[in-house]
Amino acid sequence: MLSKVFFLYFASVIVLTSSLAITRRNAMHGVLYMLLMFFHLAGLYLFLNAEFLAAVQIIIYAGAIMVLFLFVVMLLNLREDVQKSRFIRPWIIGFIISSGVMVIAIKAARSVEVVGTGRWGIKEIQSATHIGAIGQELYTHYLYPFELASLVLLVAIVGAIVLAKKRLK
């Protein structure tokens, strides 16, 4: 019961902060609401016995990505943009589509059942610690995606420099 209450708290804060984040006129406020949301998401992950992911969520999302966003928001002089209306004209269509998808998603997920058959039950994870379990999987079974991710990051580094460098050679 208590867990449900906690879930409801986290879930409602997540939905609320995300809704706020996307409706703020000032991007800065949006980013800050996002930060709040990420912390609650991390809480939710803890709930799901994913301590490592919770930490990653905070370190990378809150600590890195959102800071990057903040940098950019502050770097750009957005005074004029803030004055403009927030939504594109037929926003109501967007609203209808989004809520339609939402209804379908909720309806579709009404009765979802899965069976815990994998080898990483709560007990196993606890005995190996979550970080240990993830590490074991990541560096054995999922080594290839892991290496690929490094390539993606390399491309991101190169690409960001190419795009944001000030002057052409």
Partner: protein, 475 residues
């Protein structure tokens, strides 16, 4: 694990090494043409290694089989041709070199990863590797408003489609308990008829169609492509009009024909309106275009529609035909873009339709090549384009979709209107301006390869059809 164990992924490894070398070489090498040559050498080396690449690695995450090798062949040839047409173009646009080639190479690695993915996670990472590289390539002329605009458009919508793809993956994972294609296929097979009653599974099928539809620019997920094709540097447009599209078809084979083939009745029902709408929209909208890059963008939308028709058969013949279509499409499309690039010189954009007026008089060879590519895109025998369409339509007819085949033929008649208009402009009108053309050796090599392949496939299609047939995963 020794290096020899990695033989199946030798082409990828070579290309990754090539990308890294290019990044470093950029710092020490003054003559930027060297970079292109190194890229070509590396790509040819990788191409050479495709042939002996067989087997799975990393617990089936990486699978090098004939199917993936077919697409890798397409991707590497695409890389080669794009590199060849870029050399002079980058010079004209005064763009940075090292990063450009490295990004081309990394994008190709991404596509190859997608084609040989055995797992949705790998597929996702390959897709991201490809997409991120191409976002950057689109915005490569970062002082050019069109280029950056096309990049942001592609980026935003691409990120949206990635989110949709991830949602689809998560739901598929939730419904089948795995991200491995074969395991998903097994799980779907176990469900049997019940698979079509699982809402989350169906939900994910629709999302997959959306995400893949975005990659291959199928209506209504196509809207990025005209803008992006127009704005991106032309060499990148040539690259991305083929690469991501072929990669999209590669993952269609992986996802739809392997993982969720048990649901093929459902996804075929979704793809039918999409493919028809794609053909109609692409062809109809191409008619009123005045910019040739934009026209080719709409034409590439239409071609995705034809290739999708092959997918609709949900059988091996159709997939073969679609794969074959991609191979053919690469040569004719890159060829057409190469001619467009040929017209781009220091002070002449050369991408408006009226720039082609009387081209036959001023530059007969360029006009002749363009005519062959236009004929091929229209599907006039004996060019390769006819072969592509022929096999798509016969595959459709054999699978009993006669109505769709007739619709496809009728719609493709419309396409003659705007392709042949280019030919008419070149041959029957008088030139308005004296247009210079660039005379890069690399560009000429690319043009020669494309035109020879268009003719050779058109005249001797047997070998290529066999090649595509032999590459099929499901027989």
């Amino acid at each position: 694990m020794t290096l020899a164990n990695l033989r199946p992924m030798a082409p990828e490894l070579i290309l990754i090494a090539l990308g890294l070398v290019l990044l470093m070489l950029d710092l020490i090498c003054r003559k930027k043409e060297m970079l292109a040559i190194v890229t070509l050498i590396g790509a040819i080396l990788a191409f050479y290694f495709i042939k002996g690449s067989h087997g799975g690695l990393f617990d089936g995450m990486f699978i090098a089989d004939l199917y993936s090798n077919f697409f890798k062949t397409v991707f590497i040839i695409n890389l080669l041709l794009s590199t060849l047409i870029s050399v002079k173009y980058l010079d004209t646009e005064r763009a940075l070199h090292g990063e450009y080639y490295a990004l081309l190479v990394f994008a190709t690695v991404g596509m190859m990863t997608m084609a040989s993915a055995g797992n949705l996670i790998v597929l996702y990472l390959g897709l991201e590797l490809m997409s991120l590289s191409i976002y950057v390539l689109c915005g490569f002329l970062r002082n050019n408003i069109k280029s950056t605009e096309s990049a942001i458009k592609y980026f935003l919508l691409g990120a949206f489609s990635t989110a949709i793809l991830l949602y689809a993956i998560s739901l598929l994972y939730g419904s089948t308990g795995s991200t491995d294609f074969n395991k998903i296929a097994n799980a779907v097979a176990v469900m049997g008829a019940g698979a079509a009653l699982k809402p989350l599974l169906l939900f994910s099928v629709a999302l997959f169609v959306t995400a893949v539809g975005f990659k291959i620019a199928a209506v209504p997920f196509h809207m990025w492509s005209p803008d992006v094709y127009e704005g991106a540097p032309t060499s990148v447009t040539a690259f991305m009009s083929v690469g991501p599209k072929a990669a999209g078809f590669a993952i269609i084979g992986k996802i739809f024909f392997v993982a969720i083939f048990g649901l093929h009745v459902e996804w075929v029902k979704l793809l039918i309106p999409i493919s028809v709408a794609t053909m109609i929209t692409g062809n109809v909208l191409a008619i009123s275009q005045t910019n040739i890059k934009r026209m080719l963008a709409y034409s590439s939308i239409a071609h995705a529609g034809y290739a999708l028709l092959g997918i609709l058969t949900a059988d091996g013949d159709g997939l073969t035909a679609a794969m074959n279509y991609m191979l053919i499409y690469m040569f004719m499309n890159v060829g057409a873009f190469a001619v467009v690039i040929m017209l781009r010189t220091e002070d002449f954009a050369g991408d408006e339709l009226k720039d082609y007026l009387g081209l036959a008089k001023t530059h007969p060879l360029a006009a002749f090549l363009m005519m062959i590519f236009m004929f091929s895109l229209t599907g006039i025998p004996p060019t390769a384009g006819f072969i592509g369409k022929f096999y798509i339509f016969t595959a459709l007819i054999h699978s009993g979709q006669l109505k769709l085949a007739v619709a496809g033929v009728l719609i493709s008649v419309i396409s003659a209107f705007f392709y042949l208009r280019v030919v008419m402009y070149m041959y029957m009108k008088d030139p308005e301006v004296e247009t210079p053309v660039s005379d890069s050796l690399y560009l000429k090599v690319a043009l020669a390869i494309s035109v020879v392949m268009v003719i050779v496939i058109g005249v001797f299609p047997g070998k290529f059809i066999e090649f595509a047939k032999a590459s099929l995963i499901l027989q």
